[in-house]
Symmetry: C2
Subunit: 350 residues, 2 copies
């Protein structure tokens, strides 16, 4: 009996289109012999669509996407400074809107330094950790405003909103993940300054920790965490943190483990009420778009996360292995986006 997975595919803008093309090849190759069929629906969303139609994400788009089992997204965002996009905010109106509307409260971002991957650190050690970034609260809620805008008396505020409901569910997810890994969990926040936002995170981690006596828990201020990420990244197993700190730490973590060209992510709704969304951490990089220069590895590793999420663990592991082997064997010679995708497909077919 074959299983059908309805997959919404949002290539987006810039290099998103190119890397998603390779990711789809890999998805097909990895599942060719399985009894799972992916029914893919492409969605034209992003700066290109906005420039054409003026729409960022309509209710109809959202409803159509919700009718899928999972989403793959490339990258969205136009050329920085494009005057036609002045009032667009594709990030808030599309990417963050998807994360919030689809209740992606776990933003899962693994960082692993693969053998052979180039990295900026002289002695990185064995790096293998996962950042569990909260995805639906914190400073990302869009709860801000300005008075006397554009004048010398402007006041612009931005409020971080943190709820026990929202913090507890992501903290529980992080502890469960730590149980399946090396049983170490680090809370990152800035409790000494943001005493209220930090306080709720600290309390809930302390409470949930009591249910997980096997998990060793520690705490780092976000500034100190960035130091450890470059001096001692092998100290981390699971990091749990808020939406903004998670954003910052995962770009840094990506840089430390071979570059943002390798960093995959999943925006997960663990309850299954809405489709989860898998995307490379990198952006649309309009400066190199359409030139076959982008590394599709982050998008391909996001496919491995998608497969894992769907319970297709064997297929997921095969993709990860193929990527690992590809990274280990890549020489100095530059390859096109398609060449990287093809090389990984060839390994999957071998």
């Amino acid at each position: 009996m074959s299983r059908e997975v309805k997959l919404a595919v949002i290539p987006g803008d810039g290099i998103g289109v190119e890397v998603v093309a390779e990711a789809m090849k890999v998805l097909d190759a990895a599942t060719a012999d399985s009894d799972v069929r992916f029914e893919k629906t492409p969605f034209s969303l992003g700066a290109a669509r906005y420039l054409e139609t003026g729409d960022t994400l309509t209710d109809a788009d959202l409803d159509a996407i919700k009718a899928h089992d999972a989403i793959v997204l490339g990258a969205v965002g136009g050329v920085p400074g494009d005057p036609r996009l002045k009032d667009a905010n594709i990030e808030r109106g599309l990417l963050l809107k998807l994360r919030f509307e689809l209740d992606h409260y776990v933003n899962l971002r693994p960082s692993k330094l693969y053998a052979g991957a180039p990295g900026p650190l002289a002695n990185p050690g064995e790096v293998d950790f996962v950042v569990v970034r909260e995805g639906t609260e914190g400073p990302y809620v869009g709860n801000g405003g300005a008075i006397r805008k554009g004048t010398p008396h402007e006041v612009a505020n931005e409020t971080s909103v943190n709820t026990a409901f929202g913090v507890e569910r992501v903290v529980r997810y992080a502890f469960a993940l730590a149980e399946r890994r090396r049983k170490k969990l680090t809370l990152v926040h800035k409790t000494n300054v943001l005493v209220h936002a930090g306080g709720i995170w600290q309390r809930i981690v302390r409470e949930v920790a009591e249910e997980h006596p096997e998990v060793a828990v520690d705490y780092l201020h976000v500034d100190a965490a960035t130091i450890f990420l470059v001096t001692n990244p092998d100290r981390f197993d699971v990091i749990v943190t808020d939406n903004l700190f998670g954003d910052i730490l995962t770009d840094l973590a990506g840089a430390v483990t071979g570059g943002i060209g390798l960093a995959a992510s999943g925006n997960i709704n663990p309850d299954g009420a809405f489709p989860s969304m898998f995307e490379p951490v990198h952006g649309s990089a309009p400066d190199i778009a359409g030139q076959q220069k982008a590394d599709p590895t982050a998008a391909i590793l996001s496919i491995a996360m998608l497969l894992d999420h769907l319970g297709l663990h064997t297929e997921s592991t095969r993709v990860t292995r193929a990527v690992e082997d590809d990274i280990a064997d890549r020489g100095e010679a530059a390859r096109t986006t398609a060449q990287v995708g093809d090389a990984i497909v060839t390994r999957l077919q071998a």
Copy 2:
């Protein structure tokens, strides 16, 4: 005619005491032949004082400190988790209170990779930039609160407050600094998500930039900035950013340029209405306190910043040179805190 400078000295807690002792030796040696006399008043403030008297920073303390021309601070903060400090918050009640009450709106944090300094990066290049961190606004204002605290229905908010007045004055300082340096200024924020807080920064940088046509201005999201700090730190000259992003970036910058043991800072009130305060970026490190293990270099470089601030440029340069030479010549052998201070004093006396 000799000039007298009234200096408030706050050694604080932990290694603060040890590093300030060396910093004072260096200050004395550097100014021995000048016509400036430093009249030093020690202030007992920090966790130790709190545990003794229950006071964090009294109005009398604050008034006494205000009567000085400048302040040197070591580090404040007790042993993490000390139950007696549960309700203290030395950071907010003392360190941040000083920065806010003394209107230290420029938090100046240079990052320079000195020859011979150990660093985590394989190929750092020539790193020499200054972060101009706003010091009196943003997410640091303490404008937060929680309802239904400690319950499953808790909501904890934290508001970042940004004013045109506050942003403009620090942006002007940063542009003036860039004019005296390599004429490059990078604004770091997260304008695509924090649209109101980010918007005011972007507008004001754009406006002030018009008065500085010689200065090349660019913009980075904070997450991208952390990537460049580890892959390409030599791209930066002057970074201007808000209080929280500045906190994060400068710890990372410290790590990248030889470690937080070398990172100096000045909390500046450029108007001169209040004394400016010079402190190492590192904390009180209770785990190694009293063992003569701390590197006093950051505190000593903070003295160089103090001297510069006081217009004693020759003396400042001599301290910086002595530190540079000390770093270049340090071997592998561990030295005590006092040995490092003495070595630098010896160079100053040579």
